[in-house]
Amino acid sequence: MSVYFLCLVLFCIGLYCILRKRNLIKIIIGIAIIEYAVNLFFVLVGYKMGGRAPILSPGQSIVDMVDPLPQALVLTAIVIGLAVTALIAAIAMRVYEKYGTFDITKIRRLKG
């Protein structure tokens, strides 16, 4: 129970960072923290107490295995998270080249 709650606290720190910070890089950091918290939450839900990794091998004494389905989906989500982070970072660098700042309140000119 408390593990779930600590994971949600990590989520809330990322949410605070997105809501409250004005620097683009800080917002990217907040999005990354939220991604980590959600991935960790899925794996926590699929954990079986006293289980072993879902890899079959002869001569194992422990019968129980943890849930392989959330692990497979999170494996997909981690790679997509890297792609999204790279894309946002590229857009932030481009914004910095054009406006000379990362501050989102100063980026107001709408020129093509």
């Binding site: 779930y4 949600l8 960072c17 839900v45 954990y47």
Partner: protein, 172 residues
């Protein structure tokens, strides 16, 4: 699961430093510690594939963010309605956390998952797909279309990054 809780508290402290640090480079490095702690947590939760993938992805993510932030540091502005915004944000977070606290009680107990679909994968995975690693049997066989979509997203993101960062053809 005491070690898992200690690791989670370590990750929360790292995230707080990443949010609160004045210097952009140090906050990116603090984000790196959070990701490496997550990799260790996956290892404790018996997910070795995820731990390896998270390790590689975290290093790449830190490299990309350092490339984006280096030599571009700037002071933080605290003008505007600072006090009001902070109060509103904290009220929202407290309401969110209290709702989440009551919702967590309806989830299955930690360590006792409902494994209706997964029990089928665990029993039949080796016979139907021939893979001893059941995670890879799910990724590459049962849900192969998901993996195809992931590859599509990855290539789209790479093309988009190249299009955004391209120097030729840009107006002066």
């Amino acid at each position: 699961m005491l070690e898992l809780q200690i690791l989670l508290i370590f990750m929360i402290i790292g995230a707080l430093i990443a949010v609160k640090a004045k210097d952009l480079l140090s906050s990116v490095i603090a984000l790196g510690t959070v990701g490496l702690g997550l990799s260790l947590a996956f290892l404790i939760l018996k997910a070795p594939d995820l731990a390896i993938a998270q390790l590689v992805v975290e290093i790449l993510c830190v490299i990309i963010l350092i490339r984006a932030t280096i030599k571009k540091d700037l002071p933080f502005s605290t003008s505007g309605r600072w006090f009001f915004n902070t109060i509103v944000t904290f009220v929202f977070l407290i309401v969110f956390l209290s709702f989440a606290y009551f919702c967590i009680k309806d989830l299955p107990q930690f360590g006792k998952p409902i494994m209706k679909v997964s029990q089928f994968f665990l029993n039949q995975g080796l016979r139907q797909t021939g893979a001893t690693n059941l995670v890879s049997s799910v990724v590459l066989d049962y849900r192969a279309y998901d993996t195809l979509g992931e590859a599509t997203i990855l290539f789209t993101a790479v093309v988009a990054v190249l299009a955004v960062m391209r120097r030729a053809g840009r107006k002066k």
